[in-house]
Amino acid sequence: MQIQSMHFKARVTDKLADSVLQDNLRKTKSKFVGKRAQAIQELPEFEATREAARAIRDRVLNDLDHWLLAFEQEASRRGATVLWARDGDEVCRLVLEIAARHDCRKVVKSKSMLSEESGLNQALEAAGVVPVETDLGEYILQLNDNEAPSHIIAPVFHKSKEEVSELFARRHGTPRKTDITALAREAREQLRPQFLSADMGISGGNFLIAETGSVALVTNEGNGRMCTTVPRVHVAITGVEKIVPTLEDFATLMRLLPRSATGQSISNYVSLLTGTRGEQESDGARHMYFILVDAGRVDLVHGEFQEMLRCIRCGACMNHCPVYQTVGGHAYGWVYPGPMGSVLTPLFQGLERAIDLPNAATMCNQCGVVCPVKIPLPDLLRKLRTKQIELKLRPWSERMAIRLWAWVAARPALYAWLAARGARYLKWLAGERAYIDMLGIAPGWTSTRAFPAPQGKTFRELHAEQAKAATRGAHH
């Protein structure tokens, strides 16, 4: 996917002015949050399980090379072919080679974000292979001229049912439906013949299990099962970091993933797929391929951003992010939106091409609090901000201002003196109203709202006064 993150600010302005999008975001914003809150209440061991999950992910990442070899050995033993790809182009080349080898003309796809990263659909189309997205959300997007997803687990988070209804009527030539059940039914009927006639199924992978050489797929719709059961060939494309050691570790992570993602205690279909169809079997793929992808992940191993590789792609961070919930996923300009995307996009695509993303956060730490594998997202965003300054990617004036601030902050007496002057100046500026309509040094802050003025005294002054009063009280 072509990155657009360098245009973040312009895209945000568009999205804020888009009243249809704003309505849709308002309508859905609290649904995932409420469901997650309820689902974790039903599991008193949630916090202890989060800690265990963090340990499982770290165990893999700390010895990732050996875990990958263990996975490869077991997957090969079960009859699958394990391939490795350094980037999206290699993913596309490998998939096209597999398609040519097995004479595949039509591909049904279960959701794969790595396929979005790689621009796989365009590569398939260019080679004359028809890709059909089968996750309802992804299907809607493909139907709408290959629109990009706006959420990692709910790709059409930004669309209302009316928009889907209009799209289906136009593209399927069927009467307009207003009911979501009827829309899902229509998609089922459109996609069923595609499943039955496809030569290849492509899936992502929620996890790869080293012990058994399996890929785990977690879906509600059953399209993951369809793509991996009906066609002759199954290709699973996943990042190298998706390894989980054992089946027991997988069970632990499965207590967190659906709860954090959709607020379900379990997703409808959890499938472990291992190797190829046995001689006596009457269904299942005859050929199975794994493509283990780097695309920026290897460079994070054992570095200051390794914690990001723990991510299990649940989407909880974006569901709870005030920025994401206000601007929507498309504003971020690449495959992964929200806090996890603001960390991953600069790391995978280059900090200079996603310069505003680490700053698109209020540092409220909602994302860190809900992350099922305890990724300290605000810390990672702050590290990226530091890098921007170090690499001189931010404007000269901003760098100077930050340097000046750091110099003052390291001198407590000077800081106190300046802060007291600043507080009095702002109080004077605000006058009777106690609000400032236009702040000269930071006009952006007051362009859409008034700035509440300080009361005239700093926290340190108030604290000193109270301490003094308390001492006096104690003497009496």
Binding site: K27, T28, L43, A48, T49, A55, L64, D65, H66, R78, W84, A85, E90, L94, T134, D135, L136, I140, A154, K161, T181, A184, R188, R192, P193, F195, L196, T212, N220, E221, G222, N223, R225, M226, T229, P245, T246, L247, E248, A251, T252, M254, R255, T262, S265, N268, Y269, V270, S271, L272, T274, Q280, E281, S282, D283, G284, D294, D299, V301, H302
Partner: protein, 218 residues
């Protein structure tokens, strides 16, 4: 570099980033082998006292329907009753594993094979079931094709109450014991297929069955 070199290149870069010497590398290999030999324990929700009751309660909450009978030979009649009640024709594709039950005696016409697109009802057994989440555990195999629980609009599954286990961990232990590991396709099925993609509103009936009926025996 050719694509064949990708594996070597990716592994080499991982190793150089991890910065281990030969002795540390051997330790890493041993850590992996040890973790594979003995899984690391993790917190578990407490076990319910009555696994069957818990399974049924959770299965209902996942929108499965449930009938409870006492012995295996009542299964065909329980399936026939369900099909009649749901206004479905008395025909089904079944797992070869359960083909020997007296389906004709209950008036159901069955074929034992993998399912096809036009099959309306699929009847399967189950490897075991999980109380924690109301989940069926299905293993693919020559006598238990995976499509039977997937393609038909209605899925009826037979659950042996004595094989209702607490959670996934117990199912994995049983698989290792009885089958020597995981089958080609291991499916944990919890109720009818559904989607929440449009306006985060969950509706039943996506690509898999829109009805899942459990016949619990014992």
């Amino acid at each position: 570099m050719s694509i064949q070199d990708s594996r070597a290149d990716m592994l080499a870069r991982m190793r150089s980033r991890l910065g281990r010497n030969a002795a540390q590398d051997a330790e890493a290999a041993e850590r992996v082998a040890a973790a594979l030999r003995a899984p690391v324990p993790a917190p578990r929700p407490p076990l319910p006292a009555d696994l069957t009751a818990c399974f049924i309660e959770r299965a209902l909450s996942m929108q499965s329907t449930v009938a409870r009978i006492s012995v295996m030979h009542e299964v065909p009649q329980a399936c026939a009753d369900y099909l009649a009640r749901t206004c479905l024709p008395p025909t089904a594709v079944v797992w070869p594993q359960i083909a020997a039950l007296d389906w004709a005696g209950a008036g159901i016409e069955v074929v034992a094979r993998a399912a096809q697109g036009e099959d309306l009802t699929g009847i399967t057994g189950s490897f075991c079931a999980l109380a924690e989440t109301g989940t069926l555990v299905l293993c693919s195999g020559p006598d238990s094709p995976a499509t039977v629980s997937l393609l038909p609009e209605t899925h009826i599954a037979i659950v042996d109450a004595s094989r209702i286990l607490a959670g996934m961990e117990e199912a994995f232990a049983l698989l290792r014991r009885e089958a020597g590991g995981v089958p080609r396709s291991l499916n944990f099925v919890s109720g009818p297929s559904r989607t929440g993609d449009i306006e985060q509103t969950i509706v039943l009936g996506a690509h898999g069955p829109s009805r899942v009926h459990l016949v619990v025996v014992g």
